[in-house]
Symmetry: C2
Subunit: 452 residues, 2 copies
């Protein structure tokens, strides 16, 4: 079955009744009857909603619960989304891009006869949905899984990295990874550390608005990502997303310097503390580089490094935080990232104020017991500096890690997971954390990039 | 003693030896001898560093530890910072502003003879440091405490609110609160909820660079804050800080819509999702209003409401977060704020993926046990919307609070503390949280204010 399936308990109920998708049914709920064709579930809807195409042509969703009764009226022709069988001819003058799907709203195809929304992961399907792709490259594609991005875990990062590595090794010119936007920047950071010595671009892309909305950004984002994968000189893990409120260009961001900054805007992804790598003017298929400090496309052997320890927590310091929280987290985690205030501060109460509760003893005991504590800026923008104020110096003395780093909370979190996959030696952890591996720390802050 | 004192153990050591600040001493440490005048400790330095003015005129800091030996060489004249005794004449044609100090780098005065840095909290001292103040208003002032802002707790918020209320009740035209910048926006949020029915402006102000630096922002920020307190029509708790990279204007932000966004820049404070209330062109003493939707200065009776339950935690959802963390925090806190991804999502794993770990059962059991869970956007910008995706709807079903809110994580945290000080009834908590009290939630998002 290529369309989205209902959850197991609904499937089992339907099978017991001998009902298939495509059958004509009568659904009764709360004394109301609905008669129509049972449809596949819709992509972004409640998985527990049965979708029925009524005789007037409208699709409605009926929440499946114990009050629902379904009666088979007439077996129908099975509704099936037939992946297009068109044999794609390779155009040898064009680069080849492999598109991997992990879920998210980007690539879905509406089957117009029924209104059913199908994920489109065969290369031919992608080309039917986005015919302009073939002007850019030969397209290959497959689906790894179909998840909301907030359900993607460090285990999925490993699967994605492994599958991307396969696609790199068979000689594609670029990889595009379709991903939900919520945690796209966590995945891009993980891939940046896992896919070492990249020879070609690996481009993550998502969409903020689904394809059934007029303002959908999916085509422009996907085309721009494929242009980047096919033609750019960026042998980096990067994120390609809408650049402005207009449909004019996408930004290509470093996978370790980017963050989702708005819940709903299309231009939500922003490079923090650095410029994006490039702009892609997708109509002209033109890449305008904004920086030159990136690894260039070239012949080199990819190194895949999947060692990661996901047992790391990220906490947010705030007034009133209890030192006991730190102690408790020490029992939970092998490493802790603290989003600290200002230049990297938490309460250490050097003036012995009667209300303030110093976190210093708890942090010291954590670090002494071998659990690294990494400091990141709650401000997001700017650099940690533990030398300016007494608070920072006291934190340095007990061994927190982060002085001099202009990293993002999410990236430092993923990096600490990666580092703890490689060593438990505190000296080595510190050294690896403070070493710029893939551009996640800059030597020099460029103030002009604040909030732009 | 008006200058900054050494910690108690050092004071006791000095008293035992009969040594006072101002005495000529010989300090021996690690076989090195330092001879000079013992100075007051410096404001931003390590409190455990003895400061000695050497005979060559330089001040040096010597870390006090068990290897330090101090010998009194000669009793000196006590170094004393004499608060200026100038009797300030009230100018009855000018408004009167009361300045309260809580610490931070803003108001310090260097005593040029010795180089000692003194906090300046008498009105006369403030006028000596910032003589332009008297062109704006009659200045009153006192110090509440002298803390790094990261040590300020909800208990301090209550003290500040109570003291501000006193100053309001005696009929001042405006209140200025000097505060360290790190957690200034948490305090401004707390005061916004505690000082109800404000008749006059309450303006928080800080400085990013201390007065001994050429690029110090302290004078411009303080003058702008006093202009706002004295002359503006804003009967609101607001934050007045540098507006741009130049020394041209300050922004006046709503105390519940502002956030420190850069570790070191002077224009670090930014209004999120709304425009600032106003710009203050401090050289011309001109206030340019950018909005009109604020409470106007007027005769009304302040209501002080100090009921707050600080036992609230703020956590940051990320890939790999363990549901057990939520369970553990439930034992710790009376309320939890979750910085969620995208429109307000955490992993709820509706597709039963084998790796994803749903937080839903843990959240449900927390909420069912009477602990409210409030959702805020990790993106900072934009609005929580739990109706778009299945994830959000499932979260809504178990009773998380936040749908429709464009609030900041820090503000929702402080608001939840405040609300839990008033009720433990979940229905009432939800109602209070979702009601816009002091401008912390807007009805309409103004997209044009993204990252500007």
């Amino acid at each position: 079955m290529t369309f989205l399936t209902y959850p197991r308990h609904i499937q089992e109920y339907l099978e017991k009744k001998g009902i298939n998708i495509g059958d004509k049914v009568r659904i009764t709920k709360d004394k109301v009857e609905y008669t129509g064709i049972l449809m596949p579930r819709i992509e972004l809807g409640d998985v527990n909603c049965l979708v029925v195409k009524l005789e007037n042509g409208y699709n409605i969703g009926i929440k499946f619960d114990k009050n629902v009764r379904i009666k088979l009226l007439k077996k129908g022709k099975p509704i099936e989304f037939k992946p297009s069988k068109i044999k794609l001819k390779m155009d040898l003058t064009k680069p080849t891009v492999s598109i991997l799907g992990t879920g998210g709203t980007l690539a879905s195809r509406v089957e117009y006869k029924t209104g059913a929304v199908f994920p489109t992961f065969s290369p031919a399907d992608l080309l039917i949905s986005f015919p302009k792709l073939k002007e850019i490259a030969n397209i290959k594609g497959r689906k790894l899984f179909d998840l909301f991005s907030e359900d993607i875990t460090p285990e999925h990062w490993k699967i994605i990295a492994r599958e991307a590595a396969k696609e790199i090794k068979v000689g594609n010119d670029g990889i595009v990874l379709m991903h939900g936007t919520d945690t796209l920047h966590y995945t891009s950071a993980a891939l940046s550390f896992m896919l070492q010595n990249l020879p070609i671009p690996v481009v993550l892309v998502g969409a903020q608005r689904s394809s059934d909305r007029g303002s959908s950004d999916n085509e422009m984002n996907l085309l721009s990502a494929v242009i980047t994968a096919a033609n750019s000189n960026l042998a980096e893990v990067c994120v390609c997303m809408h650049g402005s409120e207009s449909d004019d260009f996408c930004y290509v961001h470093s996978g370790v310097r980017v963050r989702k900054m708005h819940t709903s805007r299309r231009d939500t992804f922003r490079s923090i503390n650095v410029l994006p790598f490039a702009k892609v003017w997708y109509l002209e298929k033109r890449i305008e580089y904004l920086r030159d400090d990136f690894r260039k496309r070239g012949k080199r052997k990819l190194k895949l490094d999947l060692k990661i320890n996901p047992n790391v927590g990220l906490i947010y310091f705030h007034p009133g935080m209890k030192p006991e929280l730190i102690e408790t987290l020490g029992k939970f985690y092998d490493g802790i990232v603290i989003a600290a205030t200002g230049l990297g501060h938490v309460s250490v109460n050097p003036t012995n104020d009667r209300f303030a509760k110093s976190l210093l003893p708890a942090l010291k005991s954590l670090i002494d017991s071998g659990i690294p504590v990494v400091i990141v800026p709650q401000t997001l923008y700017g650099r940690i500096n533990l030398n300016v104020y007494l608070t920072g110096r006291l934190l340095s003395q007990v061994g927190v890690i982060g002085h001099g780093c202009d990293w993002l909370p999410e990236v430092a979190l993923v990096k600490l997971m990666f580092v703890l996959g490689h060593t438990t030696d505190m000296k080595k952890i510190r050294e690896m954390m403070l070493t710029n591996m893939v551009g996640e720390i800059s030597e020099r802050s460029e103030s002009i990039h604040f909030l732009v």
